[in-house]
């Protein structure tokens, strides 16, 4: 349908190293798609890292297998798309899905509200023990 101009991905255990690895994949993606404006790179990368950090911080395993994180990012002619998934994960708690900004003295709870402010669409899917956030940003 629409052409994928550049693509990067990551799959591994849900931990701090994954966050740094995803950052590096994003940096490499922009090297492959240098036409993407700085503002779009900045906003989209922030949303992807927020979604990945949300998984690392909050996703709980559904059984004995540990949670794994999977990120699939593609650049299309007029759109950036990221699928950020937690494998072997329980359904998120309602509190973890809070999308409004907390009080100014709160030290956490801004992640999802920030994601919504950064991208064009946010979709959540749950299938077979996998939670997936699909983030898109029109460029």
């Amino acid at each position: 349908m629409t052409e994928v101009i550049a693509h990067r991905g990551f799959h591994g255990p849900s931990n701090e190293e994954a966050i740094e690895a995803i950052h590096n994949e994003l940096d490499a993606l922009w090297d492959d798609a240098s036409f993407v404006p700085d503002m779009d790179r900045m906003t989209f990368a922030t949303a992807v890292i927020e979604a990945a950090a949300n998984i690392v911080q909050h996703a709980l395993p559904v059984a004995e297998k540990p949670v794994e994180i999977d990120v699939d990012i593609s650049v299309r002619p007029t759109r950036l798309i990221a699928r950020v998934s937690a494998y072997n994960a329980r359904e998120p708690f309602a509190n973890d899905m809070q999308a409004s900004m907390p009080d100014s003295d709160a030290e956490s709870g801004r992640g999802l509200a920030l994601i919504e402010a950064l991208v064009t669409t946010v979709t959540f899917e749950r299938q077979d023990g996998t939670n997936t956030w699909i983030l898109t940003r029109n460029t």
Partner: protein
Amino acid sequence: MQFSYEVNDSYAEVKSVGRLNMVAAPKLREVVNEVVAGGSSRVVVNLAETDFMDSSGLGALIGCLKAARQAGGDLRIAGVQPQVKMVLELTNMDRVLTAYPTAEAAFGDD
């Protein structure tokens, strides 16, 4: 991510270099708590070399601000880069964490 600090006559400057994400956030809290416990409650976090901050990094800055104020001082930020500025504005925290052009300017007026 690296943090270092320097205590001056009127304030302490904490330099943050790299990505201020969920990995680095607890380290920033540790460093600022150490600075405040050492008697410097006027703290500037210099973000000139921080090109990325997420909500965990922001949460750490808010925690550090509270720690500095509880000790009778304040925490200010300096050298804010475009991505950090964007995160501060989208979360309305630019009103709480005032950005100064340089560390020297942050406590320059008092």
